[in-house]
């Protein structure tokens, strides 16, 4: 069975390295508003919450898409976006029960995590804290 992204918010340091890595990997530039993963930070009490697609079984986003622009990867079971089909209606964003999707408002496309094809960039940036990891091994 393909692996999934795991999150342990207690281990998140709020460094946002994952957001920089994600936007660079997916958009070719460093921009917080283009990252598929988001870290909400309450600095005063040092509580940080990563938010990203968890490849849930429900796939409400796929079901909500009126033009079948979202499909499931056979290799990774990640949700994939076919950008040329997308009409920017934001139905997928509204449908996600985990508030994990948001829009690239300039290109009018949802920011869909495709797990970087099975080697997520965000995970690579989080190897010390291991607040996010990919696969079954829990962090030691």
């Amino acid at each position: 069975m393909p692996d999934t992204l795991h999150i342990d918010a207690e281990r998140c340091t709020g460094c946002t390295s994952c957001m920089l890595a994600c936007s660079f990997a997916k958009a070719g530039t460093h921009a917080m508003h283009l990252s598929r993963i988001r870290i909400s930070r309450d600095e005063e009490i040092a509580e940080f919450q990563p938010k990203v697609c968890r490849q849930c079984r429900a796939r409400a986003c796929i079901a909500a898409c009126p033009v079948n622009a979202l499909t499931l990867s056979r290799e990774t079971e990640a949700v994939l976006l076919e950008a040329e089909l997308c009409i920017g209606c934001e139905a997928c964003v509204a449908a996600c029960p985990y508030d994990a999707l948001r829009m690239d408002t300039e290109r009018r496309l949802p920011l869909v995590c495709d797990l970087c094809g099975g080697s997520p960039s965000c995970v690579e940036a989080c190897r010390f804290p291991r607040a996010i990891w990919y696969g079954e091994d829990p962090p030691s």
Binding site: T13, L20, A31, L34, I45
Partner: protein, 638 residues
């Protein structure tokens, strides 16, 4: 061509309430890289000679690095610069948190703030534009209160950089705070901000981006840099235990400054003060990372029970633990956490605050602090209540705190009675908590630091030989791994010079100096690959380090221009040079003669005049710094 550092300047004049966008001269970017380097060049150009550090002519500069805002590991640092109120010389103070990334994403590579407002104001950066807004509501508030107030107005995700009550009252060691708990602490940079009546700089989340010149090459360089750090001994330790990890080890080595450097070991259990113990004591709530960091050495601590229950704050770092723990004769961690929290809220440098309190405690110990100066407090080593009350009084300049707020040099001059002998300062800045009598690389580095004696201009941890990476570095730069011994005089000049070049490059690029001059795995080669891919420029490793040399030489020139006298000022606190702690079983005072030998090594390597300690005109010319020649040539302004 795309670059991570286009050189966009936002220039603000608080006197005329004007804001304008400017561009950095391309030659400055080529010669000084960015961050601290471009900041130092800007300071030289913009602060008129002999300006009052707390007057209208001083300039406050915020300088994120070339790589800040990118995915390069540990690249989130920002350097703040001004003429310093503690020393009257050059001042740079570096900070992490999320300030640098916020500035870069808002389209600001350099923020230059001139003039003074006539009433309290804040600066709000919206999409690269600056607005000056009233700060009457926030003036008087603590750092936590200020941040909360401004976030309620400009958004919970707004980055707030501000001063606390200490900066408003021009305490000479007031800090500028960002991300609530990260401090640009040293040298009184917060007093400069306070003198401008600038309470805060607010950066709401921006939809900007930071590009790089060659994305595939940058991706590869980032991966290599990360891999190097993931395998580094010190980086792993910093992540697990923070900067205070080795308080107990330093105590065992008799290198833990205690009771104002009268001793080098503390009584009681040093393990309780060590960062290694905080998780098991239930004090560590969270490991925290600065923006863009990968090893995340910052902490958030909270006291769960007992008389200090509920105390919480970011930190403390090693320096804070030594300042308020062993330094003040305090052996419990909870009062240290309380002092740390108070300093963060008031906006105070913990190093200097601890140092002036230790000086007051020793002045009482020696019976020279008059009763009428003591504010009715029992100012004895080990008295945690007196320590905490003095922190508060310093922040608000009340009673004895008003005197201590001037810094230990000025306070000792007022009290006299020989108390200058235990004022742990040089050039007017309190020394950080490194036992420089037992580590001669640090001693030399402290003596020549343009902002005064501390480890944050030249961290040379490698001389301790504590890690394989450190020993390998010593072998690489000196040819002999047996020189990784801190009590040796030999090769200290070479060791210090490499570290100061590397530190300057790190600050210019926005890289955390822990990654380059403590962890050592982010090498010159890895850095130049990151720099080249990010900017499209391709200096050799040597040229990059040479830019570091250029930066620190210009900083020296700035201090010389403002009155630095090397024969008087290139030195260490009197106690370090004349006394030995009875329990310091390795080392001896760094005597005048010993320091002279170290300085000779150092001046020679820099090609400075051996007698005057000033750069030669030919040295400046070789570094393309001839514009500074007039104030630095021997005999010119003496």
């Amino acid at each position: 061509m795309k670059t991570s550092y286009p050189g966009r300047v936002l220039a603000v004049d608080l006197s005329t309430r004007s804001v304008s966008k400017e561009a950095l001269p391309p030659s400055w970017i080529a010669d000084f890289l960015g961050g601290r380097g471009v900041g130092a060049r800007t300071l030289w150009e913009n602060v008129p000679p002999h300006a009052d550090p707390l007057g209208e002519d001083n300039v406050l500069i915020l300088a994120p690095g070339v790589l800040t805002g990118t995915s390069a590991p540990c690249s989130g640092r920002t350097t703040l610069l001004a003429k310093g109120p503690a020393t009257g010389h050059y001042l740079k103070s570096s900070v992490g948190g999320h300030l640098g990334i916020s500035l870069k994403l808002a389209g600001v590579d350099l923020l230059v703030i001139r003039g003074c407002a006539d009433r309290p104001v804040s600066l709000v950066l919206d999409g690269g534009d600056g607005r000056i807004v009233p700060a009457d509501t926030e003036w008087g508030m603590t750092v936590r209160e200020t941040t909360a107030s401004l976030r309620s107005r400009y958004g919970e995700d707004a980055e707030v950089t501000c001063i606390g009550p200490a900066g408003e009252r021009l305490v000479r060691f007031a800090a500028v705070m960002t991300s609530v708990y990260n401090a640009a602490a040293r040298g009184g940079i917060g007093a400069v901000m306070g003198s401008k009546r600038l309470k805060a700089i607010v950066v709401p989340p921006a939809r900007g981006s930071v590009d790089v010149a060659d994305a595939p090459a940058f991706r590869a360089a980032v991966q290599k840099a990360r891999d190097a750090l993931y395998n580094d001994t010190v980086a792993k330790d910093l992540h697990r235990f923070g900067t205070a990890r080795d308080v107990d080890l330093l105590n065992e080595l008799h290198l833990l400054p205690t009771r104002n450097f009268q001793h080098s070991t503390m009584e009681g259990d040093a393990y309780a003060l060590s960062g290694r113990s905080w998780a098991e004591l239930g004090l560590l709530k969270r490991i925290v990372g600065c923006g863009g960091c990968i090893y995340c050495c910052h902490r958030f601590t909270r006291v769960p029970s007992g008389p200090f229950a509920g105390v919480s704050s970011g930190g403390p770092e090693y320096e804070t633990v030594a300042a308020f723990g062993s330094g003040c004769g305090i052996t419990k961690i909870e009062p240290v956490l309380a002092a740390n929290s108070l300093c963060n809220d008031l906006g105070l440098d913990t190093i200097s605050t601890g140092s002036v309190i230790q000086w007051a405690m020793e002045s009482v110990q020696r019976g020279v602090l008059p009763d009428e100066r003591r504010d009715g407090l029992d100012i004895s080593f080990g008295n945690e209540q007196a320590m905490l009350e003095l922190v508060r009084r310093i922040g608000y300049r009340e009673g004895l705190g008003d005197l201590l707020a001037e810094g230990v040099a000025r306070a000792a001059d007022v009290i006299g009675a020989g108390s200058q002998a235990w004022a742990m300062q040089a050039r007017g800045l309190e020394q950080s908590n490194v036992e420089t009598r037992g580590s001669l690389g640090y001693a030399l580095a402290f003596a020549v630091n343009p902002r005064g004696p501390d480890h944050l201009h030249t961290e040379c941890l490698a001389e301790f030989g504590g890690t394989k990476e450190g020993i390998d570095l010593i072998e690489r730069i000196t040819g002999d791994r047996r020189l990784a011994v801190p009590s040796k005089e030999e090769a200290r000049g070479v060791i210090v010079r490499w570290h100061e070049d590397m530190y300057a490059v790190s600050d210019a690029l926005g890289l955390c100096a822990f990654a380059t001059t403590a962890a050592y795995s982010l090498t010159e080669s890895l850095i130049s690959h990151l720099y080249a891919a990010a900017t499209g420029r391709s200096p050799t490793d040597l040229e990059l380090m040479r830019a570091g040399r250029r930066i620190e030489t210009l900083e020296r020139c700035f201090s010389l221009r403002e009155g630095l006298l090397p024969e008087r000022d290139d030195r260490l606190p009197d106690r370090i040079m004349s006394e030995i702690a009875p329990d310091l079983d390795r080392g001896e005072p760094v005597s005048d003669r010993k320091l002279k030998r170290l300085l000779d090594q150092y001046y020679h390597l820099h090609a400075w005049d051996l007698h005057t300690g000033r750069p030669l005109a030919s040295t400046l010319s070789a570094l393309d710094l001839s514009f500074a020649e007039g104030v630095c040539t021997p005999g010119d302004d003496r």
